[in-house]
Protein backbone atom coordinates (compact mmCIF):
# COMPACT_ATOMS: atom_id res chain seq x y z
CA UNK A 1 0.00 0.00 0.00
CA UNK A 2 1.28 3.36 -0.92
CA UNK A 3 0.67 4.97 2.45
CA UNK A 4 2.75 2.33 4.17
CA UNK A 5 6.12 3.92 4.23
CA UNK A 6 9.51 3.39 5.70
CA UNK A 7 8.37 4.81 8.98
CA UNK A 8 7.27 1.33 10.06
CA UNK A 9 10.46 -0.43 9.20
CA UNK A 10 12.95 -1.36 11.85
CA UNK A 11 10.29 -1.58 14.50
CA UNK A 12 8.05 -4.45 15.41
CA UNK A 13 5.00 -2.34 14.64
CA UNK A 14 4.31 -1.72 18.28
CA UNK A 15 4.12 -5.47 18.89
CA UNK A 16 5.41 -6.48 22.24
CA UNK A 17 8.81 -8.11 22.05
CA UNK A 18 9.20 -10.51 24.94
CA UNK A 19 12.71 -10.41 26.36
CA UNK A 20 14.93 -13.47 26.23
CA UNK A 21 15.19 -13.28 30.02
CA UNK A 22 11.41 -13.71 30.34
CA UNK A 23 11.39 -16.57 27.84
CA UNK A 24 14.20 -18.37 29.67
CA UNK A 25 12.52 -17.86 33.03
CA UNK A 26 9.35 -19.41 31.65
CA UNK A 27 11.34 -22.32 30.21
CA UNK A 28 12.98 -22.90 33.60
CA UNK A 29 9.58 -22.84 35.32
CA UNK A 30 8.16 -25.30 32.78
CA UNK A 31 11.04 -27.71 33.33
CA UNK A 32 10.64 -27.33 37.09
CA UNK A 33 6.93 -28.16 36.93
CA UNK A 34 7.67 -31.15 34.70
CA UNK A 35 10.04 -32.57 37.30
CA UNK A 36 7.51 -31.68 40.00
CA UNK A 37 4.74 -33.71 38.35
CA UNK A 38 7.02 -36.75 38.01
CA UNK A 39 8.19 -36.23 41.60
CA UNK A 40 4.62 -35.99 42.85
CA UNK A 41 3.69 -39.24 41.12
CA UNK A 42 6.71 -41.00 42.59
CA UNK A 43 6.09 -39.49 46.04
CA UNK A 44 2.48 -40.66 46.05
CA UNK A 45 3.56 -44.20 45.28
CA UNK A 46 6.33 -44.05 47.86
CA UNK A 47 3.95 -42.80 50.55
CA UNK A 48 1.36 -45.40 49.59
CA UNK A 49 3.79 -48.31 49.71
CA UNK A 50 5.89 -47.16 52.69
CA UNK A 51 3.03 -46.32 55.01
CA UNK A 52 0.66 -48.77 53.34
CA UNK A 53 -2.03 -46.12 52.97
CA UNK A 54 -4.53 -46.06 50.18
CA UNK A 55 -4.35 -42.85 48.18
CA UNK A 56 -7.54 -42.38 46.17
CA UNK A 57 -6.94 -42.26 42.46
CA UNK A 58 -8.56 -38.86 42.05
CA UNK A 59 -5.69 -37.25 44.03
CA UNK A 60 -3.20 -38.58 41.50
CA UNK A 61 -5.31 -37.21 38.66
CA UNK A 62 -5.98 -33.87 40.37
CA UNK A 63 -2.29 -33.22 41.09
CA UNK A 64 -1.22 -34.15 37.55
CA UNK A 65 -3.94 -32.08 35.88
CA UNK A 66 -3.32 -29.06 38.15
CA UNK A 67 0.38 -28.98 37.32
CA UNK A 68 -0.34 -29.46 33.62
CA UNK A 69 -2.79 -26.55 33.79
CA UNK A 70 -0.21 -24.26 35.40
CA UNK A 71 2.28 -25.20 32.66
CA UNK A 72 -0.34 -24.53 30.00
CA UNK A 73 -1.10 -21.08 31.43
CA UNK A 74 2.62 -20.23 31.33
CA UNK A 75 2.96 -21.37 27.71
CA UNK A 76 -0.20 -19.62 26.59
CA UNK A 77 0.49 -16.33 28.37
CA UNK A 78 4.18 -15.87 27.59
CA UNK A 79 5.24 -18.16 24.73
CA UNK A 80 2.00 -17.63 22.84
CA UNK A 81 1.89 -14.04 24.12
CA UNK A 82 -1.78 -13.92 25.01
CA UNK A 83 -0.80 -11.72 27.94
CA UNK A 84 0.18 -8.96 25.50
CA UNK A 85 -2.23 -9.82 22.72
CA UNK A 86 -5.66 -8.74 21.57
CA UNK A 87 -8.32 -9.90 24.09
CA UNK A 88 -10.21 -11.43 21.18
CA UNK A 89 -7.62 -14.21 20.87
CA UNK A 90 -7.86 -14.90 24.60
CA UNK A 91 -11.62 -15.08 24.21
CA UNK A 92 -11.30 -17.65 21.41
CA UNK A 93 -8.94 -19.73 23.51
CA UNK A 94 -11.01 -19.54 26.70
CA UNK A 95 -14.25 -20.45 24.95
CA UNK A 96 -12.64 -23.43 23.25
CA UNK A 97 -11.35 -24.67 26.58
CA UNK A 98 -14.80 -24.15 28.11
CA UNK A 99 -16.32 -26.21 25.30
CA UNK A 100 -13.85 -28.99 25.94
CA UNK A 101 -14.71 -28.73 29.65
CA UNK A 102 -18.40 -29.18 28.79
CA UNK A 103 -17.57 -32.34 26.85
CA UNK A 104 -15.67 -33.72 29.82
CA UNK A 105 -18.22 -32.53 32.37
CA UNK A 106 -21.23 -34.12 30.72
CA UNK A 107 -19.27 -37.29 30.11
CA UNK A 108 -18.45 -37.41 33.81
CA UNK A 109 -22.10 -36.78 34.75
CA UNK A 110 -23.15 -39.64 32.52
CA UNK A 111 -20.52 -42.08 33.73
CA UNK A 112 -20.99 -41.08 37.35
CA UNK A 113 -24.60 -42.19 37.17
CA UNK A 114 -24.00 -45.35 35.19
CA UNK A 115 -23.86 -47.80 38.05
CA UNK A 116 -26.89 -46.53 39.88
CA UNK A 117 -30.17 -47.59 38.47
CA UNK A 118 -33.48 -46.33 39.77
CA UNK A 119 -35.64 -49.19 40.88
CA UNK A 120 -38.54 -48.14 38.70
CA UNK A 121 -36.29 -48.15 35.64
CA UNK A 122 -34.69 -51.49 36.35
CA UNK A 123 -37.04 -53.44 34.18
CA UNK A 124 -35.99 -51.45 31.13
CA UNK A 125 -32.27 -52.00 31.61
CA UNK A 126 -30.55 -53.46 28.59
CA UNK A 127 -26.96 -54.42 29.23
CA UNK A 128 -24.21 -52.99 27.06
CA UNK A 129 -21.14 -54.60 25.58
CA UNK A 130 -19.44 -57.52 27.18
CA UNK A 131 -15.85 -56.47 26.45
CA UNK A 132 -15.31 -59.87 24.93
CA UNK A 133 -13.67 -60.70 21.64
CA UNK A 134 -15.39 -62.29 18.66
CA UNK A 135 -15.40 -65.78 20.14
CA UNK A 136 -16.67 -64.53 23.48
CA UNK A 137 -13.16 -65.02 24.86
CA UNK A 138 -11.36 -61.88 26.08
CA UNK A 139 -8.71 -60.69 23.60
CA UNK A 140 -6.11 -60.89 26.34
CA UNK A 141 -6.95 -64.55 27.02
CA UNK A 142 -6.85 -65.30 23.31
CA UNK A 143 -3.37 -63.76 23.13
CA UNK A 144 -2.24 -65.86 26.08
CA UNK A 145 -3.70 -69.06 24.61
CA UNK A 146 -1.97 -68.37 21.31
CA UNK A 147 1.37 -67.94 23.05
CA UNK A 148 0.86 -71.16 25.03
CA UNK A 149 -0.06 -73.04 21.84
CA UNK A 150 3.02 -71.63 20.12
CA UNK A 151 5.17 -72.63 23.09
CA UNK A 152 6.44 -69.06 23.63
CA UNK A 153 4.56 -68.39 26.85
CA UNK A 154 6.72 -67.86 29.92
CA UNK A 155 4.70 -68.47 33.08
CA UNK A 156 7.32 -66.62 35.15
CA UNK A 157 7.28 -63.54 32.96
CA UNK A 158 8.25 -60.28 34.61
CA UNK A 159 5.37 -57.92 33.97
CA UNK A 160 7.60 -54.83 33.67
CA UNK A 161 5.29 -53.13 36.07
CA UNK A 162 7.28 -49.94 36.50
CA UNK A 163 4.89 -48.60 39.07
CA UNK A 164 4.54 -51.75 41.14
CA UNK A 165 1.41 -50.37 42.73
CA UNK A 166 -1.38 -52.66 41.66
CA UNK A 167 -2.56 -52.99 45.23
CA UNK A 168 -3.48 -49.36 45.76
CA UNK A 169 -5.60 -49.10 42.66
CA UNK A 170 -9.28 -48.81 42.33
CA UNK A 171 -9.68 -47.35 45.81
CA UNK A 172 -13.26 -46.24 46.12
CA UNK A 173 -13.38 -45.66 42.40
CA UNK A 174 -16.59 -46.44 40.58
CA UNK A 175 -17.57 -49.33 42.72
CA UNK A 176 -21.11 -50.45 42.08
CA UNK A 177 -23.41 -48.62 44.47
CA UNK A 178 -26.53 -50.52 45.46
CA UNK A 179 -29.49 -48.26 45.74
CA UNK A 180 -30.45 -47.35 49.26
CA UNK A 181 -33.00 -49.74 50.64
CA UNK A 182 -32.71 -52.11 47.70
CA UNK A 183 -31.43 -55.63 47.88
CA UNK A 184 -28.51 -54.60 45.73
CA UNK A 185 -29.67 -56.50 42.72
CA UNK A 186 -29.94 -53.39 40.63
CA UNK A 187 -26.39 -52.22 41.00
CA UNK A 188 -25.28 -54.28 38.02
CA UNK A 189 -27.03 -54.76 34.70
CA UNK A 190 -28.66 -58.13 34.36
CA UNK A 191 -27.35 -60.21 31.48
CA UNK A 192 -29.77 -60.74 28.67
CA UNK A 193 -32.88 -58.84 27.70
CA UNK A 194 -34.88 -57.71 30.68
CA UNK A 195 -38.07 -56.58 29.04
CA UNK A 196 -40.65 -59.32 29.21
CA UNK A 197 -41.98 -60.37 25.87
CA UNK A 198 -38.89 -59.43 23.84
CA UNK A 199 -36.92 -62.25 22.18
CA UNK A 200 -34.08 -63.34 24.45
CA UNK A 201 -35.86 -62.31 27.63
CA UNK A 202 -34.41 -63.87 30.73
CA UNK A 203 -36.52 -63.91 33.83
CA UNK A 204 -34.66 -62.22 36.71
CA UNK A 205 -32.93 -64.56 39.10
CA UNK A 206 -34.77 -64.69 42.39
CA UNK A 207 -31.69 -65.90 44.30
CA UNK A 208 -33.60 -68.93 45.52
CA UNK A 209 -34.08 -71.95 43.31
CA UNK A 210 -32.39 -71.32 39.96
CA UNK A 211 -28.82 -72.24 39.23
CA UNK A 212 -26.92 -71.22 36.07
CA UNK A 213 -28.10 -74.22 34.09
CA UNK A 214 -31.76 -73.53 34.51
CA UNK A 215 -31.12 -69.89 33.55
CA UNK A 216 -29.47 -70.92 30.30
CA UNK A 217 -32.32 -73.17 29.39
CA UNK A 218 -34.61 -70.17 29.51
CA UNK A 219 -32.52 -68.29 26.94
CA UNK A 220 -34.73 -69.34 24.04
CA UNK A 221 -37.16 -66.69 22.87
CA UNK A 222 -39.85 -66.64 25.42
CA UNK A 223 -43.34 -66.05 24.27
CA UNK A 224 -45.10 -66.31 27.58
Amino acid sequence: MSHETNSHDGHAHGHVIVSLFTLRTILALLLFFTLLTVGAALAEQWIASTFSVVIPQWINVAVAISIATVKTVLVVMFFMQLKYDSPMNTLIFVFTVLTAAFFLGFTALDLGGRNTLERFKAQYAIPGGTGLGGDNIPITTQARNKAIAAGTYDPHHDHHDHHGAQSITNAGYLQPKPEKGSDGNFSRPVKGVTIPGLPGYIAPKDNHGHDDKSEKSEKSPAGH
Binding site: H13, T34, Q45, I65, V75, H160
Partner: protein
Protein backbone atom coordinates in the same frame (compact mmCIF):
# COMPACT_ATOMS: atom_id res chain seq x y z
CA UNK B 1 3.70 -10.35 -5.69
CA UNK B 2 2.66 -7.57 -3.45
CA UNK B 3 4.27 -5.02 -5.76
CA UNK B 4 1.63 -5.54 -8.44
CA UNK B 5 -1.14 -3.61 -6.79
CA UNK B 6 -3.80 -1.35 -8.11
CA UNK B 7 -2.85 2.21 -7.49
CA UNK B 8 -5.87 4.36 -6.72
CA UNK B 9 -4.38 7.24 -8.68
CA UNK B 10 -3.74 5.18 -11.78
CA UNK B 11 0.02 5.67 -11.68
CA UNK B 12 2.48 2.84 -11.65
CA UNK B 13 3.87 1.95 -8.28
CA UNK B 14 7.39 3.20 -7.75
CA UNK B 15 10.12 0.78 -8.78
CA UNK B 16 11.07 -1.43 -5.87
CA UNK B 17 14.52 -1.30 -4.40
CA UNK B 18 15.34 -5.00 -4.59
CA UNK B 19 18.45 -4.57 -2.52
CA UNK B 20 16.26 -4.26 0.53
CA UNK B 21 15.28 -7.58 2.15
CA UNK B 22 11.86 -9.05 1.47
CA UNK B 23 10.48 -8.37 4.94
CA UNK B 24 11.17 -4.66 4.52
CA UNK B 25 9.65 -4.54 1.05
CA UNK B 26 6.67 -6.60 2.08
CA UNK B 27 3.23 -5.16 1.44
CA UNK B 28 0.10 -6.48 3.04
CA UNK B 29 -2.44 -8.18 0.79
CA UNK B 30 -4.69 -5.61 -0.88
CA UNK B 31 -7.72 -6.38 1.30
CA UNK B 32 -5.86 -5.30 4.43
CA UNK B 33 -5.37 -1.72 5.50
CA UNK B 34 -1.81 -2.29 6.64
CA UNK B 35 0.70 -4.92 7.60
CA UNK B 36 -0.44 -4.60 11.20
CA UNK B 37 -4.01 -5.19 10.13
CA UNK B 38 -2.90 -8.26 8.19
CA UNK B 39 -0.78 -9.51 11.08
CA UNK B 40 -3.66 -9.27 13.55
CA UNK B 41 -6.06 -10.96 11.14
CA UNK B 42 -3.63 -13.77 10.38
CA UNK B 43 -3.05 -14.27 14.07
CA UNK B 44 -6.74 -14.45 14.87
CA UNK B 45 -7.21 -16.94 12.04
CA UNK B 46 -4.46 -19.08 13.54
CA UNK B 47 -6.10 -18.88 16.95
CA UNK B 48 -9.43 -20.01 15.49
CA UNK B 49 -7.64 -22.93 13.88
CA UNK B 50 -5.98 -23.73 17.21
CA UNK B 51 -9.46 -23.75 18.76
CA UNK B 52 -10.44 -26.55 16.38
CA UNK B 53 -7.21 -28.33 17.27
CA UNK B 54 -8.06 -28.15 20.96
CA UNK B 55 -11.50 -29.58 20.20
CA UNK B 56 -9.96 -32.36 18.12
CA UNK B 57 -7.76 -33.39 20.99
CA UNK B 58 -10.56 -32.91 23.51
CA UNK B 59 -12.35 -35.80 21.77
CA UNK B 60 -9.34 -37.93 22.52
CA UNK B 61 -9.27 -36.78 26.13
CA UNK B 62 -12.98 -37.51 26.55
CA UNK B 63 -12.43 -41.03 25.19
CA UNK B 64 -9.60 -41.35 27.68
CA UNK B 65 -11.84 -40.20 30.54
CA UNK B 66 -14.68 -42.56 29.60
CA UNK B 67 -12.55 -45.66 29.26
CA UNK B 68 -10.45 -44.87 32.29
CA UNK B 69 -13.55 -44.42 34.46
CA UNK B 70 -14.99 -47.67 33.14
CA UNK B 71 -11.79 -49.71 33.39
CA UNK B 72 -9.29 -48.00 35.69
CA UNK B 73 -7.45 -51.26 36.28
CA UNK B 74 -6.75 -51.63 32.54
CA UNK B 75 -5.27 -48.13 32.42
CA UNK B 76 -3.02 -48.77 35.39
CA UNK B 77 -1.88 -52.09 33.95
CA UNK B 78 -1.20 -50.48 30.56
CA UNK B 79 0.44 -47.36 31.93
CA UNK B 80 2.77 -49.57 33.97
CA UNK B 81 4.14 -50.89 30.69
CA UNK B 82 5.27 -47.43 29.53
CA UNK B 83 8.65 -46.03 30.45
CA UNK B 84 8.41 -42.78 32.42
CA UNK B 85 12.01 -41.98 31.44
CA UNK B 86 11.37 -41.74 27.70
CA UNK B 87 8.16 -39.83 28.30
CA UNK B 88 9.98 -37.37 30.54
CA UNK B 89 12.81 -36.94 28.03
CA UNK B 90 10.32 -36.24 25.26
CA UNK B 91 8.53 -33.71 27.47
CA UNK B 92 11.79 -31.87 28.04
CA UNK B 93 12.61 -31.98 24.31
CA UNK B 94 9.24 -30.44 23.46
CA UNK B 95 9.50 -27.75 26.16
CA UNK B 96 12.96 -26.77 24.87
CA UNK B 97 11.54 -26.59 21.34
CA UNK B 98 8.73 -24.35 22.59
CA UNK B 99 11.39 -22.02 23.95
CA UNK B 100 13.33 -22.01 20.67
CA UNK B 101 10.15 -21.12 18.77
CA UNK B 102 9.36 -18.24 21.11
CA UNK B 103 12.98 -17.10 20.74
CA UNK B 104 12.71 -17.38 16.94
CA UNK B 105 9.72 -15.03 16.97
CA UNK B 106 11.68 -12.60 19.12
CA UNK B 107 14.69 -12.72 16.78
CA UNK B 108 12.42 -12.06 13.81
CA UNK B 109 10.99 -9.05 15.65
CA UNK B 110 14.48 -7.72 16.38
CA UNK B 111 15.82 -8.57 12.90
CA UNK B 112 18.43 -10.97 14.24
CA UNK B 113 18.55 -13.11 11.10
CA UNK B 114 21.25 -15.51 12.23
CA UNK B 115 19.58 -16.48 15.50
CA UNK B 116 16.20 -16.64 13.84
CA UNK B 117 17.55 -19.33 11.49
CA UNK B 118 19.36 -21.15 14.30
CA UNK B 119 16.26 -21.27 16.50
CA UNK B 120 14.02 -22.45 13.68
CA UNK B 121 16.53 -25.17 12.86
CA UNK B 122 16.81 -26.17 16.53
CA UNK B 123 13.03 -26.49 16.71
CA UNK B 124 13.04 -28.68 13.62
CA UNK B 125 15.65 -30.99 15.14
CA UNK B 126 13.83 -31.07 18.48
CA UNK B 127 10.77 -32.35 16.59
CA UNK B 128 12.99 -34.93 14.90
CA UNK B 129 14.46 -36.00 18.26
CA UNK B 130 10.96 -36.34 19.70
CA UNK B 131 9.88 -38.59 16.85
CA UNK B 132 13.07 -40.69 16.96
CA UNK B 133 12.66 -41.29 20.69
CA UNK B 134 9.00 -42.07 20.17
CA UNK B 135 9.49 -44.51 17.32
CA UNK B 136 12.75 -46.22 18.32
CA UNK B 137 12.20 -46.59 22.05
CA UNK B 138 8.43 -46.66 22.36
CA UNK B 139 6.44 -47.43 19.23
CA UNK B 140 8.71 -50.11 17.77
CA UNK B 141 9.15 -52.22 20.96
CA UNK B 142 5.45 -51.99 21.74
CA UNK B 143 4.50 -52.87 18.19
CA UNK B 144 6.80 -55.90 18.11
CA UNK B 145 5.52 -57.14 21.48
CA UNK B 146 1.94 -56.97 20.29
CA UNK B 147 0.86 -54.19 22.66
CA UNK B 148 -1.62 -52.97 20.09
CA UNK B 149 -5.22 -51.73 20.05
CA UNK B 150 -8.24 -54.02 20.05
CA UNK B 151 -8.09 -57.10 17.90
CA UNK B 152 -4.47 -56.46 16.92
CA UNK B 153 -3.44 -57.04 20.52
CA UNK B 154 -1.23 -60.13 20.91
CA UNK B 155 0.81 -59.55 24.06
CA UNK B 156 0.24 -62.65 26.20
CA UNK B 157 1.12 -61.23 29.65
CA UNK B 158 -1.67 -58.77 30.28
CA UNK B 159 -2.87 -58.25 33.81
CA UNK B 160 -6.23 -56.81 32.83
CA UNK B 161 -8.86 -58.05 30.44
CA UNK B 162 -9.45 -54.57 29.04
CA UNK B 163 -5.85 -53.75 28.30
CA UNK B 164 -6.37 -53.65 24.51
CA UNK B 165 -8.64 -50.66 25.19
CA UNK B 166 -5.81 -48.83 26.93
CA UNK B 167 -3.52 -49.48 23.96
CA UNK B 168 -6.18 -48.09 21.63
CA UNK B 169 -6.16 -44.86 23.64
CA UNK B 170 -2.37 -44.82 23.86
CA UNK B 171 -1.81 -45.37 20.14
CA UNK B 172 -4.68 -43.12 19.12
CA UNK B 173 -3.68 -40.15 21.26
CA UNK B 174 0.07 -40.35 20.72
CA UNK B 175 -0.17 -40.99 16.98
CA UNK B 176 -2.47 -38.02 16.41
CA UNK B 177 0.00 -35.97 18.41
CA UNK B 178 3.00 -37.40 16.52
CA UNK B 179 1.35 -36.59 13.19
CA UNK B 180 1.08 -32.99 14.38
CA UNK B 181 4.80 -33.03 15.17
CA UNK B 182 5.56 -34.31 11.66
CA UNK B 183 3.41 -31.56 10.10
CA UNK B 184 5.11 -29.00 12.36
CA UNK B 185 8.53 -30.16 11.20
CA UNK B 186 7.47 -29.68 7.60
CA UNK B 187 6.30 -26.15 8.44
CA UNK B 188 9.58 -25.33 10.17
CA UNK B 189 11.54 -26.61 7.18
CA UNK B 190 9.51 -24.17 5.07
CA UNK B 191 10.10 -21.35 7.57
CA UNK B 192 13.82 -22.09 7.56
CA UNK B 193 14.05 -22.01 3.77
CA UNK B 194 12.25 -18.65 3.76
CA UNK B 195 14.33 -17.32 6.64
CA UNK B 196 17.46 -18.05 4.59
CA UNK B 197 16.11 -15.67 1.95
CA UNK B 198 15.54 -13.05 4.65
CA UNK B 199 11.79 -13.23 4.30
CA UNK B 200 11.17 -12.45 7.93
CA UNK B 201 11.97 -9.40 9.95
CA UNK B 202 10.36 -6.74 12.13
CA UNK B 203 7.98 -5.67 9.38
CA UNK B 204 6.81 -9.14 8.44
CA UNK B 205 6.92 -12.35 10.43
CA UNK B 206 3.36 -13.66 10.15
CA UNK B 207 4.40 -17.17 9.20
CA UNK B 208 6.92 -17.50 12.05
CA UNK B 209 4.30 -16.33 14.53
CA UNK B 210 1.56 -18.59 13.15
CA UNK B 211 3.64 -21.76 12.94
CA UNK B 212 5.04 -20.94 16.37
CA UNK B 213 1.54 -20.76 17.88
CA UNK B 214 0.69 -24.11 16.28
CA UNK B 215 3.85 -25.64 17.73
CA UNK B 216 3.00 -24.37 21.22
CA UNK B 217 -0.42 -26.06 21.07
CA UNK B 218 1.26 -29.33 20.06
CA UNK B 219 3.50 -28.86 23.10
CA UNK B 220 0.52 -28.17 25.38
CA UNK B 221 -1.23 -31.35 24.22
CA UNK B 222 1.87 -33.30 25.19
CA UNK B 223 1.97 -31.49 28.56
CA UNK B 224 -1.37 -33.19 29.26
CA UNK B 225 -0.69 -36.50 27.55
CA UNK B 226 2.52 -37.12 29.49
CA UNK B 227 1.04 -37.28 33.01
CA UNK B 228 -2.22 -38.88 31.86
CA UNK B 229 -0.48 -41.70 30.00
CA UNK B 230 2.81 -42.21 31.85
CA UNK B 231 2.22 -41.17 35.45
CA UNK B 232 -0.96 -43.07 36.36
CA UNK B 233 -0.86 -45.38 39.31
Amino acid sequence: MASIQADPHGAHPPAEDLSRPYHERYHAAHHFKSRDHEFDSVKMGVWLFLGTEILLFSGMFVAYAIFRMMHPEAFIAGSGKLSVGWGLLNTIVLLLSSYTVAAAVRHAQTNNQKWLRINVLLTFFAGLAFLLIKFVFEYWPKYSEGKLPGKFYSYPYSTSEYEPLWWAIYWGATSIHASHVIIGMGLFAWIWLRARKQHFGPGHYNAVEGVGLYWHIVDIVWIFLFPLLYLIH
